[in-house]
């Protein structure tokens, strides 16, 4: 026998369909990773070397940044994206934003590696 509950459950199944993440959410994250890692690599050469007395100390963070398609790099992206709005607000221009983003990438990569 058909019941109202059965009907409404059928309707609920149709109404509350799973929602695919917007097209490009995952790919955007991966694209951002590639851009950020490239920026981070350049940036690390200029300021991380000055900051660390022994260059061997920055091999691990750089390795963490340049490896792609791993959980670690996905997390670096996610963490960096989480602070991107704030960096955009604080940046004095595109170059400053790039520098801030690169520093964030390096910092998050180190946090992931040290975890």
């Amino acid at each position: 026998m058909s019941t109202p509950s059965a009907d409404i459950e059928t309707l609920l199944s149709r109404a509350l369909r799973p929602v695919d993440p917007p097209e490009g959410l995952s790919s955007r994250l991966e694209s951002t990773l590639v851009e950020l890692t490239e920026m981070a690599f350049d940036e690390l050469e200029s300021w991380e070397l000055r900051a660390m007395r022994d260059p061997r100390n920055w091999v691990r963070p750089v390795m963490a940044v340049v490896v792609t398609a791993t959980a670690g790099t996905a997390l670096v992206i996610l963490r960096v994206r989480a602070g991107q709005k704030r960096r955009v607000m604080l940046a004095r221009g595109p170059a400053d934003l790039a520098a801030r983003t690169a520093r964030a990438v390096a910092g998050e990569a180190r946090r992931v590696v040290r975890r």
Binding site: S5, L12, V19
Partner: protein, 180 residues
């Protein structure tokens, strides 16, 4: 013998698998919870960030049980914080039929747009815990036990919650229909 410490690479690999397996679940929950894609994306990202921070402990405490309820519970708590901090309701209601086009096929929309919109509008009127239970059941396909873990309730209480949610929704939709 003491348990061998899990390697970070192993944990990251398992977290990546969790991320791939449940991105859609978390996003679906977030979308129906907050009602718009922008906030749903933010909520999804924050959920996985927080999950990563506590992943090792969650795995240890899960005793082999699936981690989906734990992920959804994180999203649930973050969504609650979002509303509390911003003191706001969803910016776009989930019964906004313009949003349906992103979720439903053209065929659905042609055949039952009004009906689906009425159901979604009714879901929106439910108390939070009932609405969330329905989202978990119907959008994510979670069983009673999973929903219970996500909401921090017993299996029995969850069964009652779902039953009452459906009954209340029937009443809301029925009232709406009789007004027409």
């Amino acid at each position: 013998m003491a348990a061998t410490a899990r390697s970070k690479a192993e944990l990251d690999s398992e977290f990546a698998e969790l991320y791939r397996s449940h991105l859609r679940d978390v996003y679906s929950y977030a979308y129906y919870r907050v009602g718009n894609h922008h906030d749903a994306e933010d909520l999804t990202e924050q959920t996985f960030l927080q999950a990563y921070r506590h992943f090792e402990r969650a795995q240890a405490e899960s005793d082999g049980r699936p981690l989906r309820p734990w992920l959804i519970r994180i999203a649930h708590n973050l969504a609650a914080n979002l509303y509390r901090d911003r003191s706001r309701r969803p910016q776009t209601s989930i019964d906004d039929t313009s949003g349906l086009s992103a979720v439903h096929t053209t065929e659905d929309l042609v055949e039952g747009r009004d009906e689906l919109a009425r159901i979604l509008a009714g879901v929106k009127e439910l108390p939070n815990d009932r609405r969330e239970a329905l989202i978990m059941r119907f959008a994510l396909g979670m069983d009673n036990r999973e929903i219970a873990r996500a909401l921090g309730k017993t299996d029995g209480a969850t069964k009652v919650l779902l039953h009452r949610a459906i009954r209340q929704l029937e009443g809301i939709v029925g009232d709406e229909h009789s007004k027409r």
